[in-house]
């Protein structure tokens, strides 16, 4: 073995999380290698030219929760990162009207007032309550979760912190947080609002990436989770990255290079080498062996512990709980190349549409909570239900994504169940694509004549291409019984048997690019 294959740390997976970890380790003066299976880095945050001239953020769609300190520490703007604003959300309604929300508070209130003066007022208070709850919960997210059953100093200190934190909340806030943590998003929203399209659109963000419906308990938390991207005010954390999500990975990759991290592409890991209960290196599929003091996996927990690590090195109950870890993908992605903009009957534009206001933001097909819940009913039994595309047009925000005058449409589609009845194949993929177009067509009748190309990505494809088990965009379902000290299994067991193998799912709650 040569010393060139010896490192202070090996990171499995060249997605944004793996690259960030590599950059920080290199900053600390460590010799680091990041191993990426694909020929390109970025993981699920990649931008690829699927059709000539049309660039797509293949899997992910927007950026949020990319922590500003990472942007500053790694000097990402210098390396090309630009997060552009997504200024609005537009929900076309079944009666031909629409509901919009804008980046200006007064405009949004005026728009809501048009539908319900009561909701317009409630919205102000709701926004404050959610912001307060998000602020209340955020410090907890940055903690290393303590194990409530452990008596170790670290865990006890951690629990003390959680206790201190809970004590710092007002009684009202504590109740609010407890309620938000257990409620369904439908219950939460129905307490506040009467406008169906408003409740539907809000509920839609409470199910993103989950295998749940708006009436499932726990979805209020997911809704809150998405709110967290919004509380940093000046950060405007929700946005669209220049050059798509690949722009985020690209900037991080440039930063890792500047910091001297070795990044190897086309380097599939076959196995993590374990010696005396410790990870000591990896064996690549091409037979190369790398040794290291630390092996870190940015792959999901299932891939890490059921594929990379031989199970004989792990306790049986740990293996069982990783096997039981829920990571079923529920969403797909339909990427469409357009020769012109689709025209929505609810808000038609004149001229060439290049300045069409609604097309600059997200378009959400979510007319009511029931509509979404029904779609979930289909998904529960393994059926495609693409009634819920939420799309944006990255080329309206970053014109470089498509040839001049042309556009790319990025549709996040829920539900597209991983375990589709009969399994995924080309025909079922086409069905999903067709269902998405048929849904959008109800609101934008000219969509078909705009299409010049379409790529349909099922959760199976996410799994196959990006290497995420189950194709779940959160590396495991965002469920109450799988977060905090329960993630990905009973606390402390992630690092069992006290080897230095950890997963990025433990290091970071969610992908920076959702």
């Amino acid at each position: 073995m040569t010393s060139s294959n010896t490192y202070d740390a090996i990171i499995i997976g060249g997605g944004h999380n793996g690259l960030v970890a590599g950059a920080y380790l290199a900053r600390a003066g460590k010799k680091v290698v990041v191993l990426e299976r694909r020929p390109i880095v970025g993981g699920a945050a990649v931008t690829e030219e699927i059709f000539p001239g049309y660039k797509f953020t293949e899997f992910s769609y927007v950026v949020s929760l990319l922590r500003p300190e990472i942007i500053r520490d790694l000097e990402l703007p210098k390396h090309g990162l630009k997060i552009l604003p997504l200024p609005s959300t537009f929900t076309p309604m079944e009666n031909g009207d629409y509901l919009a929300s804008w980046d200006d508070h007064d405009l949004t209130r005026r728009e809501l007032y048009r539908h319900s003066p009561k909701d317009a007022e409630a919205y102000d208070e709701y926004a404050r309550v959610m912001a307060r709850a998000a602020k209340a919960i955020k410090p907890i997210i940055n903690l290393i979760p303590p194990d409530p059953s452990s008596m170790s100093i670290r865990d006890l200190m951690g629990l003390l912190k959680v206790g201190q934190y809970a004590a710092s909340l007002s009684e009202k806030e504590l109740y609010m947080v407890a309620k938000l943590a257990t409620q369904s998003s439908a219950d939460l929203l129905e307490e506040w609002f009467e406008t169906d399209a408003l409740k539907g659109t809000k509920a839609a963000s409470g199910i993103i990436g989950t295998y749940l419906g708006p009436r499932s308990p726990g979805t209020a938390y997911v809704l809150l989770h998405h709110y967290m991207g919004e509380i940093d005010g000046a950060f405007r954390a929700w946005g669209f990255a220049k050059n798509g999500s690949g722009g985020v990975s690209g900037a991080i990759f440039n930063a890792t290079k500047a910091l001297g991290v070795e990044v190897r592409v086309n380097s599939s890991v076959q196995q993590v080498k374990v010696k005396n209960g410790r990870a000591v290196g990896v064996i690549l599929e091409n037979g190369d062996e790398l040794t290291s003091k630390v092996v870190m996996s940015a792959a999901d927990p299932k891939r890490t512990f059921l594929q990379f690590v031989e199970q004989k090195h792990l306790p049986d109950d740990f293996v069982t709980s990783i096997q039981n870890f829920r990571a079923r993908g529920s969403s797909g992605k339909v990427n469409i190349a357009l020769s012109k903009l689709p025209n929505f009957t609810a808000m038609p534009y004149t001229g060439n549409g290049a300045n069409s206001v609604l097309h600059r933001g997200a378009v959400s097909i979510s007319p009511s909570i029931d509509y979404i819940e029904r779609a979930y009913d289909d998904a529960k039994y393994g059926q495609i239900s693409s009634a819920l595309p939420r799309h944006d047009l990255p080329s309206m925000i970053d014109p470089d994504m498509a040839p001049p005058g042309h556009h790319v449409m990025s549709c996040f589609v829920q539900y597209a169940p991983y375990d589709l009845e009969g399994g995924w194949n080309d025909q079922r993929r086409n069905e999903l694509g067709e269902a998405v177009i048929a849904t959008i067509e109800q609101y934008a009748p000219n969509i078909r004549e705009c299409i010049v190309g379409m790529q349909v990505i099922s959760p199976k494809d996410i799994e196959a291409i990006a290497g995420i088990t189950g194709g779940n965009i959160f590396h495991g379902e965002l469920l109450l019984h799988q977060i905090f000290f329960l993630r990905p299994t009973r606390n402390g067991q992630t690092s069992a048997p006290r080897s230095k193998a950890t997963t990025s799912a433990q290091a970071a709650h969610t992908p920076a690019a959702a």
């Binding site: 300190e69 703007p77 405009l107 602020k135 000046a234």
Partner: protein, 400 residues
Amino acid sequence: MLNLNLKTTPFHERTSALCQPQNWRKWAGYFVVGSYEHVLDREYWAIRNSAALIDVTPLMKYIIKGKDAAALLHRVTTRNVHKMKVGQVAYTGWCDEEGKMIDDGTISRLEESTFRLTAAEPNLRWLTMNAVGMDVSITEVTDDVAALSFQGPNTRKVLNLVCEKPVDELKYFRLMTNKIHGVEVTISRTGYTGDLGYEIWMDNKDALKVWDALMEAGSDYGITPVGILAMDMARVEAGLFMLDVDYTSASHAWIESQKSSPFELGLDWTVALDKPGYFVGRRALEKEKREGSAWKMVGLAVDWVGMENIFKQVGLPPQIPGSAVRASLPVMVGNVQVGYASTSTWSPLLKTYIALAHLQKPYYEIGTDVRMEITVEHHRQHAPAKVVKLPFYEPEWKKK
């Protein structure tokens, strides 16, 4: 009939129709758009990501013509004007006899003996005073020449679509004559944003034609009309200062300490002490060069974690103003005030709170730790900050 309204620019018919929040600003006696939208984000990002169209007509403009035109500008400004080639543009400040800045702007050598000088404030009297005995005419053309600043990484592509001659070869701080849809224009590769950008100069009567041509051709490239508030954020990132905000003209200062020399403003590179002959302020500037400057304008990057900690004490996340703040903020080292920040802004690109600050010797050295005043819930606090090199942001395509 008596008209006490502010003047409108030749683009007013278009800009007023697009200005949603009726956010107007006064600039040298003109009305210009502060922002076109209710939130500045999109306008700011047009500068950094696509193509921002900014009406900068109120800039004071002078045509200086005649055998001694170069000699006059050589004498008045700190640049070596005799060395400028036709088609070259030079940024410069100009000083009084004590070497204190009066104003700043650009000199464009349009022809061998024809120059255009831009300025923030009226300078006709000062120029005329300095032209005694020279064969030169000085004409103010502010109201006759419309100007658009076209800034952002896509501007070159858009100009190539509408211009008779391609602009690919036009280098940084050079200008060319061109035609846009048959209209004669001068295009200079200049701006106030620190990004790739151009300024387009045209006859008033042609203003709308040029505006329309650009807006149409730019629609597929993200062209966005941008007001001066978003430009104000970008110019701070670019480390560019503004008269009456970041410094006081020596001709208006009430007291000596309000005046600044070009060295104190970081304009060392524009002061050609090696140029032949006399120029206004030469002796004082030579002396300052020898003895060192008492002040220096530098960049401050506020430490976010430090700021978070201050806000955390009252239970708030950090609050940041939505646009550039033109207010003087004391800068401290220990309990001693060592200077002040004259403009501060949140940088959406850098995700950093930044400021242009004037610091006393020796605190202006890069890397110095200082603290800048912030107001947290009505209380004055001081956030930790570091002295950094200007500009804060300089994309590789700015000069390429």
